[in-house]
Symmetry: C2
Subunit: 454 residues, 2 copies
């Protein structure tokens, strides 16, 4: 009995000591990020000096070269590129669009959705069918829709507390609207922007065509434009809509994932990834989406080096290419991991904006999630109170098949879709403190993953 | 035994039913705030049409008249004013200041602290003593300080996760710096702005003079200005600083707290207050501080009426006057409550900005705090995860002596001091969703307080 008590006491005491040492290290991580952080300066360069960086663009190439250089300057153990062929879609000259109500012509802001075809050179003008859902559209006769423009106008649900949930409930219109409209003979599809705010920016994003269905041009319209169009249609159902866009899909282009690495001291063959995606939409500086995730990931490794934390396992910062319109970088990364027999125990992605940290979503087995429980009390003092089953991240998603546990960094979601995929996703909307707190949160999680594995 | 089990079951079942009904009501409260909320439009008017509203100013009077009118239009059961005499400090013409380093003169942004005296009409120019703390200053000989300007340059600690804690650790310089400097014969006191960001705005705020000490002029300098002054002094200790300010304290002015009320149906004599303060600093639109708290408080009552929630107890929205430089409204409110034998069971204040809600700080006995525990699971789905002992609010503070339990609404703190007490505390920095979520959080808490008491 005495032995058991002694043993229990030792176990408990050992546990408490470890908790205390971890607590001290995590405090140091936050102090470093908040006092000497580099992520904000890096983000300024990525957004202001390089700017938009859609896959295949010169901006994307500059971002590859520059992040590689930044990580080399940080003297990480290894910095390398992974080749990946990416889609190369270009917008061409900016779009034009107007609402024609009798003799009144009103210009409205639109932008072609990524992957869309162009209109004929003179544009498309047609009457408009407004719908809120695919079932509503499908219930219509092809005669009614044929030759018209379908206008998908279901807003994001403002009552969802997590805005990503509201986004998930509306984004089918953007992804598949053109296909659904084309099935009934429409000549174009206009989609209400995915945002809760009333603004004048088209919020773009990726779309795809189903095979065997005519490729019709599709564009996002600003929420104010959508409200105006809807109101005008209610007044005059014969209102027509004109739009002209000049986009095209070029042959796939060569690009890269950019990887920086600190070699593990005890288990170098076990890899922990922390990453974001380097590409952005062509109209955006890509500050929150996802410049933030990239600079935070590099910052995680910088903090480790700066504090002299020598990880047991290998830690990699990965700038994935082509999350926005293909996910080729994420797929390629996982393919190479498999081919090279690499063992990725965990991957952390930051692709939800550079806002105040609230927690992490976990994609793993219940047993793996239980392993995280003892860490919660270490992270709670930093406001990380939402740690549990959730979403990982698009780029790290393909690693799940290899048994990698995924962690999606979860910042506050309220303002993300104010900026998402628009020209206002710019540096000035990012708070230095919020960005740095995110980097520190990720570094703390990576530290614990490295210490204890899963 | 069977009886006991039946009883236990009934109690539990009754509890579960109540929880479910409350859960439904809280969901409705959020839906109403997020779908039909009025707080954002009200805030636009208060900041853009009325603007700055320091106690005693015409802006403050306009804000009294307008909020009274808004609440009357909402058809609350009773809307009334409470007279209160307030300090009347005016800035006069904007300040001038420069650093004189040999022949180089560099202008820097300063603003007189609220309550400060003016400089002589021609301004003050003197050599500068830079200090980080009062002990450092007190250790100096009066000969060294006499005739000089003391420059208080201790920054807010960036490593504090809650920025209010960092503010609390620096604000003594602003409040008492002039007195400490004057004790040693200084002719002026310049104080580094209370913010974590590097900007060009002086962040003003209240200060006070101790009796028996000469009244010397004191001003806030922007953080960039403070950094420049510090750097210049390091290069050339003979650098002088010039500043000229034109402020003065006029006789006390008559002003008002504005109160709107929904009468309780069962216990009308038990009052629950929800409030913010109507005054702001003269350089600010007072959007986060504290227009947000005012419009959220009115919104709480509007939501109740709109959803047909008939409170058992009397619910009051209170716009307190003069939080910024006197707290006269808060003191007067508590005095009148006592004089009128009113029983205030709880008071909720929103004065920490219109950011994403994180919880409530509670000032009450442990037994009272325990009463709140069953509510936590009802509020957690809305991100209200930080509910526990904490700060209440300045305006409701004086009610504590009467046994009122205080609740301080706790939004995310990271960006609050980016704007605090400056010209950039303006409408555009407030997110509609975040503001509305705050109003819904407060309404939900008030609903539970009304249902269950304390």
């Amino acid at each position: 009995m005495k032995k058991t008590i002694t043993l229990l006491f030792s176990v408990f005491f050992g546990y408490a000591q470890a908790q205390n040492a971890d607590s001290v290290t995590i405090r140091k991580i936050y102090n470093e990020a908040l006092s000497n952080g580099k992520s904000y300066d890096w983000l300024r360069h990525l957004t202001k000096q390089i700017g938009p960086r859609l896959s295949g663009s010169t901006g994307a190439q500059k971002a590859v070269d520059w992040t590689k250089q930044v990580m080399e300057q940080q003297d990480f153990d290894r910095v390398f590129l992974q080749d990946v062929m990416v889609p190369h879609w270009v917008r061409g000259a900016r779009e034009e669009a107007y609402i024609q109500n009798g003799k009144t012509k009103t210009k409205v802001p639109i932008a072609a959705l990524g992957g869309s075809v162009a209109t004929p050179p003179k544009g498309v003008e047609a009457q408009v069918i407004e719908v809120k859902s695919f079932p509503e559209l499908r219930a219509m006769s092809p005669e009614k829709v044929k030759g018209k423009i379908v206008f998908f106008n279901r807003p994001m649900d403002p009552t969802k507390i997590n805005t990503f949930e509201a986004y998930g409930g509306a984004v089918d219109q953007r992804a598949n609207g053109a296909t659904e409209a084309a099935k009934l003979g429409a000549v174009g599809a206009i989609v209400r922007s995915m945002t809760n705010v009333h603004d004048d920016y088209p919020h773009v994003g990726g779309m795809r065509y189903a095979t065997g269905v005519p490729l019709i041009p599709t564009a996002a319209i600003s929420t104010n434009g959508a409200d105006l169009l809807s109101k005008t249609l209610a007044e005059n159902p014969n209102t027509t809509f004109f739009f002209k866009q000049n986009c095209e899909t070029l042959p796939d282009a060569k690009s890269y994932n950019v990887v920086g690495e600190i070699k593990g001291s005890e288990k170098p063959d076990e890899i922990i990834v922390v990453g974001g995606h380097l590409d952005s939409w062509d109209l955006a500086e890509g500050a929150h989406d996802d410049g933030a995730g990239c600079v935070q990931s590099i910052e995680v490794l910088r903090i480790f080096k700066s504090l002299g934390i020598k990880p047991k396992r290998t830690i990699r910062a990965v700038m994935f290419m082509n999350e926005e319109n293909g996910l080729r970088g994420g797929i390629q990364y996982a393919d190479l991991a498999k081919k090279n027999n690499e063992k990725h125990i965990a991957a952390v992605e930051s692709d939800n904006g550079g806002f105040t940290p609230r927690g992490f979503g976990i994609v793993g087995t219940p047993a793996q999630r239980v392993k995280v429980d003892p860490w919660k009390s270490l992270l709670a003092p930093y406001g990380l109170l939402e740690i549990g089953a959730g979403s990982g991240g698009a780029d790290i998603g393909p690693l799940a098949q290899q048994g990698t546990v995924l962690f999606g960094f979860k910042p506050d979601s309220q303002r993300y879709f104010d900026y998402h995929h628009t020209m206002v996703d710019r540096f000035e909307t990012v708070s230095q403190r919020e960005l740095e707190l995110g980097a520190a949160s990720m570094a703390s999680l990576v530290y614990l993953l490295d210490q204890y594995g899963l």
